[in-house]
């Protein structure tokens, strides 16, 4: 049995790597993806470009403007003359927010009266707008508190000082958050899509018929066709982790051996799905499109890109059926938190269940399809 499988595996490797560019795609691309995700996929808001329209031109308004100046989060780009300019700059996307000081600002403030301050925000990017708004109000609250303290000439009361302590990722680097995501993504792409396409290719080219008439058993064919992509997938994991360590200083707090075991469990599911797709697809294009239909919801509902707890309740229940949800939690837990089986056993159990079900059902279907 193993001799036959070895032959298929060899053939698969030769076919996959016949084109040297495939080698590059399979092994260089993951690193590129890692770098992209690590550097680009950040929702931190930095360098907020801010416009100021100061009708007041008083000492008080200048004091607040200089607070904006001193803050790292803001880049004061424009001192404006009239509201028309704000509209123009926001439309062109040159500024993300504008602060308007009314004419009576300084006078009101000195009187201790309530002083309105208009803040205009470009709401197109709702996410950024929320964060920018909170940055601006924080800065203003702090400023007004200091101003009052100065006015009073003494410290009026104790204040509460938040002392944030961030665990697992103290510098809040998005790369650390993204490395586990990239691992999931690569494993999905190489094992699910390439497996389904590789089998469908044989069918499209007519070579599957040739294989079926040989004395090979279905199980041997399945193992032979899928093993190379499992190996490639595992190599990619090793590669991404090493690159993450070198480039982004990724901490590896848990056991790598445990990580590989969990990955193997997860691969059972993706291979099963890949096999299933190949039994329902006639062309590689169909296989690819069908695989995409599995992959995109799986990715988006996994908690990799947006936290599950922000989703509507009903969708949160649906994510319980998503194997990627368990896998991404396990990968993150192992790499960043150093979790072991004592914490991750529910995930391992779920992956085991999904894996066995997927592989058994689709192998049965694949056998029938060969006959």
């Amino acid at each position: 049995m193993f001799r036959i499988i070895r032959h298929i595996v060899r053939k698969e490797f030769i076919q996959t790597f016949r084109d040297k560019r495939m080698l590059i795609i399979l092994f260089v691309a993951p690193v590129i993806q890692l770098i992209l995700f690590g550097y680009a996929a950040t929702t931190d808001i930095k360098h907020i470009s801010l416009g100021i329209l100061d009708y007041d031109q008083s000492q008080e308004s200048r004091a607040l403007i200089s607070s904006f100046h001193q803050s790292d989060s803001f880049t004061l780009k424009f001192h404006l003359k009239n509201p028309k300019e704000i509209e123009e700059l926001v439309q062109k996307g040159k500024i993300q927010a504008a602060v308007v000081f009314p004419g009576e600002y300084g006078k009101n403030l000195k009187k201790g009266a309530r002083t309105p301050l208009q803040v205009i925000l470009d709401g197109t990017d709702s996410n950024s707008a929320t964060i920018i708004m909170s940055y601006i109000s924080q800065l203003i609250v702090k400023h007004s508190k200091n101003y009052m303290a100065d006015l009073k000439g003494k410290k009026p009361a104790g204040i509460i000082i938040p002392q944030p302590r961030v665990w697992y990722n103290p510098e809040l680097k998005s790369s650390l958050y993204m490395v586990p995501g990239v691992i999931c993504l690569i494993l999905l792409l190489t094992t699910l899509i390439l497996t389904s396409m590789a089998i469908t290719k044989e069918r499209e080219m007519g070579t599957l018929e040739q294989i079926i008439v040989s004395p090979i058993k279905p199980i041997e064919l399945i193992i032979g066709k899928t093993a190379p992509f499992v190996l490639i997938g595992l190599c990619d994991i090793a590669l991404i982790i090493s690159a993450g360590k070198l480039i982004f200083d990724l901490p590896i707090r848990g056991s790598l051996f445990f990580l590989f075991c969990v990955s193997l469990l997860f691969i059972l599911t993706t291979l099963g799905t890949g096999l299933f797709i190949s039994t329902v697809s006639r062309t590689q294009q169909q296989a690819m499109m069908t695989a995409f239909f599995f992959i995109i919801p799986a990715m988006l509902l996994s908690g990799i890109f947006s936290p599950i707890e922000t989703m509507p309740r009903i969708i949160q229940y649906i994510t319980l059926l998503n194997p990627l949800r368990y896998f991404s939690k396990a990968v993150r837990g192992i790499l960043l938190k150093g979790n072991d089986i004592s914490i991750l056993w529910p995930q391992v159990l779920a992956l085991f269940f999904f894996g066995i079900t997927a592989i058994v059902l689709s192998s049965l279907r694949f056998r029938k399809y060969l006959e």
Binding site: A41, L117, G123, T124, P162, G333
Partner: protein, 378 residues
């Protein structure tokens, strides 16, 4: 010449029609994406699972806790008296943030001393962590300034009316409710169009190479530009169809406002489609295998349109060197145009730099294709 292009287009259209599964999948993909992004995926951070350790157990500390619990951002799951076992809550991922109020909290406040509140955050999701910290700080600051006001009013002759003196009045333009669908759906159009245009065209030519029909085709008098136009036209219309789909669902189901000119929108979409189709075709001139074509189109079109275009992650926050690469991503320009037309209702007079960039990109990539597409077997 026209005589030769029409049969090529006809043939390509027949291929698409004969494979209805791929067609349905291609048309269904945008809908799945829309629904997921419209209903399920929000990048707003709310309901953060939270634990509070209250070592003080005073009126003041309970007041603070009730403020945190009543905000939308935090979901208070655990209220504890001691620190024992809190580590495990973070380890197991049951909570993402732990607030720890020290036992001397109210004592310090009453003595007019500063007092620390520890905020323990799970940083493995850096985005949520960052936002959570800023929310906590916001609440704490508001809480402190209220205390200050009370004190000042009690203590002093200062005629302050118990409200922070500077009153922020936010005005949100274009998207006053800050609905994330308003932000996501225009972006989604760009991603969907890129996927269909580039991915499908890159496969269709690789497929002809694999089956062997390409050899036959290049032995006919058909010229490179005729084959290119013949291949692209059906996918061009398919792409426009999908664009209309997404626009319709977006405006009617998700109520995204379409404030600009719809004709202008379709004109720029055409230009962007040309970029996508060009990239797909370029990939297919480089490879003759469908697997490789697929992998290349994922890496050169799907990922950049997702990550480097500003679809979800703002370009201005990226490091300089990554930002430089975003200039090579046509989706980045298209996204500015889409959001401009949809939400801001602006036109060519403001968006011309983006339109010119798209035009340049499309012409260059198609020119590169015509140059690379050799009608021989080497």
């Amino acid at each position: 010449m026209r005589n030769r292009i029409i049969p090529l287009i006809r043939k390509e259209t027949l291929h698409i029609i004969r494979d209805p599964r791929s067609l349905y999948l291609a048309l269904g993909l945008p809908i799945v994406l829309l629904i997921l992004f419209g209903y399920a995926i929000t990048f707003d951070v709310k309901n953060i699972p939270t634990a509070v350790v209250d070592q003080d157990n005073s009126v003041l500390s309970r007041d603070l806790i009730s403020r945190i619990a009543s905000s939308n951002y935090f979901d208070l799951l655990y209220l504890l008296n001691t620190h024992s076992g809190t580590d495990r809550l973070l380890d197991e991922g049951r909570v993402k943030i732990i607030l720890s109020i020290p036992s001397f909290f109210s004592r310090d406040i009453s003595r007019k001393q500063d007092t620390p509140v520890q905020v323990l955050v799970d940083g493995s999701d850096n985005n949520t962590a960052q936002i959570a910290i800023s929310y906590v700080s916001g609440i704490l600051q508001l809480f402190s300034s209220n205390i200050i006001m009370e004190k000042l009013n009690k203590d002093g002759p200062m005629p302050i009316e118990g409200i922070p003196p500077i009153n922020v009045e936010p005005r949100l333009w274009y998207n006053p409710d800050l609905k994330s669908t308003n932000f996501i759906i225009p972006g989604l159009i760009a991603v969907v169009m890129m996927v269909i245009a580039a991915m499908m065209t890159s496969l269709t030519i690789a497929r002809e190479w694999e089956i062997g029909t390409m050899e036959q085709l290049i032995a006919t008098p058909a010229r490179p530009h005729e084959i290119i136009i013949g291949k692209l036209t059906p996918y061009y219309f398919l792409g426009l169809l999908q664009t209309s789909f997404v626009i319709l669902i977006g405006t009617f189901l998700f109520k995204v406002p379409l404030r600009g000119n719809i004709l202008f929108l379709f004109c720029v979409s055409s230009l962007f489609l040309a970029c996508g189709l060009g990239i797909g075709l370029f990939i297919s001139t480089v490879t003759k295998s469908q697997q490789l074509a697929f992998m290349m189109s994922v890496i050169f079109t799907l990922l950049p349109s997702f990550l480097l275009s500003g679809f979800i992650f703002p370009v201005s926050s990226m490091p300089q060197i990554v930002r430089f690469f975003t200039y090579l991503v046509p989706a980045k320009y298209f996204l500015v145009v889409l959001r401009g037309i949809f939400l801001k209702g602006i036109g060519l007079n403001i968006l011309w730099p983006e339109v010119v960039s798209l035009f340049l990109f499309a012409s260059l990539i198609i020119l590169a294709c015509a140059k690379r597409m050799k009608l021989n077997l080497e």
